[in-house]
């Protein structure tokens, strides 16, 4: 764990792996030091934002050093089941990239248990990685040109991650399928169905 400066109201804490990020985010969110207003997990870091009226960066740095993270215990996360119809426009391109059949792409995607590492890009857009103990899937690059409109519910792959577009938005990931599950409801207290630490299993439904 390495604590980096980040202006006058935040620190950036860097970790060696995503499961340490998730462990730190879960532990620190459950019992934050007074004055921490926000914790933002990402691939290798947790951003710690403070209210400078309540606390100071030196005090928080000290508190963080006294609260080292351990990897997230997997059983802690909620499990969300996502029904998918595998008819995405790029599923054949992914099969080409992996050198296998479309059915084999679907099988590997279904056989993997996923874990939401962090949310970025758009509200509720979780970056899913194979859960600890699961083998990584071969990487697929982002599309060369981004689509101006990707429909809500599109299930996609890129750069070692899987994601489900929670709302219609532009997007450059490879689309392999779609779900009817509502992942984002901004009229509720808990707008995102998938949050950092959520485990995700995909289930196949016919077209």
């Amino acid at each position: 764990m390495r604590i980096l400066p980040n202006g006058d109201r935040a620190l950036l804490v860097e970790f060696a792996s995503l499961d340490l990020v998730l462990g730190a985010h879960a532990a620190w969110s459950a019992a934050p030091a007074p004055g921490i207003v926000e914790l933002v997990p990402a691939a290798r870091t947790v951003l710690v934002r403070i209210d400078p009226v309540v606390t100071g960066l030196a005090a928080i740095e000290h508190w963080l050093a006294e609260h080292p993270a351990s990897p997230l215990a997997l059983a802690d996360g909620d499990v969300v089941s996502v029904p998918v119809t595998y008819d995405g426009d790029d599923v054949a391109a992914v099969a080409d990239a992996w050198g296998c059949s479309i059915d084999a792409v679907i099988e590997r995607h279904l056989a993997t248990e996923w874990l939401c590492g962090f949310i970025g890009f758009a509200p509720g857009f979780g970056y899913l990685v194979p859960a600890p103990g699961q083998s990584a899937l071969p990487q697929v690059p982002r599309r060369e040109t981004s689509r101006p409109r990707v429909p809500a519910g599109s299930v996609a792959l890129a750069a070692g991650y899987c994601g489900v577009y929670p709302r219609e938005s532009p997007g450059g990931w490879q689309l392999i399928g779609r779900t009817s599950l509502e992942l984002w409801r901004d009229d509720t207290e808990q707008p995102a169905l998938i949050t950092p630490g959520t485990r995700v299993r995909f289930e196949r439904v016919p077209a």
Binding site: H25, A42, P191, A192
Partner: protein
């Protein structure tokens, strides 16, 4: 209890509903958003007796025209505009930083900005748009909150607040500067990705606010004579071409894109980003970003003392 409505005659270039935003939802991918010039927002709301968290209008470059059929109090802060109240019988100038009664038959007309870029309009009762995740702010990047104003829109106002319109003839506030704007910065998490020349250039160059700036971020470009032929903020050799895994961003984070140009992130910034952050604009300087016009000179200054 009056529940007046606002009739939008002309929204100007871009008018957005803003309050103080969504402060702590970044881990769900939702940025802070809210008024770009927070001090201007708070002052405008106080001038008409509203709670500071009431929603007002953020008007880019002026040009807004509206009517309030029931009449109400309004106040203008932030950028200075040539504003007037037009009615059949008269055309009266509206001073900045002052509560002004808009009569039922009058039209509030905001001319072009004369100082600064974003004018805040507060109306007594506040704009009563629906709440999205606890805020009425429009997040332009995530497309959350009320759509930008369009001609013909009818916006409801909230109920008359408990507190009266305060008795203050005029709050003396300087207009946003037309010339050089100084912003204080502190080191960012990836300052060590950049050469010592780049770190010096950041705080010695005269930058110019780019026309490619909005609520997502204000891009800075080098003024002509200063850069000494350099291509912007250069990375140390070990980091040239390196990819950074996405990490959390702040309002004020100065991201440096591969071409060496810095962008200071604004209220609607992406929650995470993959460009290294060389420095961060301190909280006390953030509101000044809202008032920068394209081409305006900007100097970044290293903050001193403890954060």
């Amino acid at each position: 209890m009056s529940h007046a409505v606002v009739d939008v005659v002309d929204p100007g270039a871009l008018t957005l509903v803003q309050d103080l935003g969504r402060p702590a939802l970044s881990s769900l991918g939702v940025s802070g958003s809210g008024a770009f010039d927070r001090a201007a927002h708070r002052l405008a709301q106080r001038l008409v007796g509203n709670d500071e968290g009431a929603a007002g209008l953020e008007v880019l470059l002026g040009g807004l025209r509206l009517r309030v059929a029931a009449g109400t109090w309004i106040a203008l802060t932030g950028a200075w505009v040539d504003a007037r109240l037009d009615s059949a019988s008269a055309s009266v100038a509206v001073p900045p930083h002052s509560a002004v009664l808009v009569d039922a038959d009058a039209e509030l007309v905001l001319g072009p900005v004369t100082h600064g870029a974003r004018c805040t309009v507060a109306l007594r009762g506040g704009i009563d748009a629906p709440l999205t995740l606890g805020s009425r702010s429009r997040d332009t990047l995530a497309a959350l909150g009320p759509a930008p104003l369009a001609a013909g829109d009818v916006l409801p106002l909230g109920p008359e607040p408990a507190s009266p319109v305060p008795v203050a003839d005029l709050v003396p506030v300087d207009p946003p500067p037309r010339g050089l704007v100084e912003l204080e910065v502190r080191p960012g998490p990836r300052a060590d990705w950049f050469t010592s020349d780049a770190l010096d250039l950041l705080v010695t160059a005269e930058w110019k606010a780019s026309a490619r700036s909005d609520r997502t971020g204000v891009r800075l470009e080098l003024g002509s004579a200063v850069d000494g032929g350099s291509g912007g903020l250069a990375r140390v050799p070990a980091r040239e071409g390196a990819e950074l895994e996405s990490e959390g961003m702040l309002r004020g984070s100065i991201q440096v894109s591969p071409d060496g140009a810095p962008t200071v992130l604004g209220p609607d910034h992406p929650v995470t980003g993959g460009y290294p952050v060389i420095a961060v604009v301190v909280d006390a300087s953030l509101d000044r970003l809202a008032q920068l016009l394209p081409g305006q000179p900007v100097r970044l200054r290293r903050a001193t003392g403890r954060a």
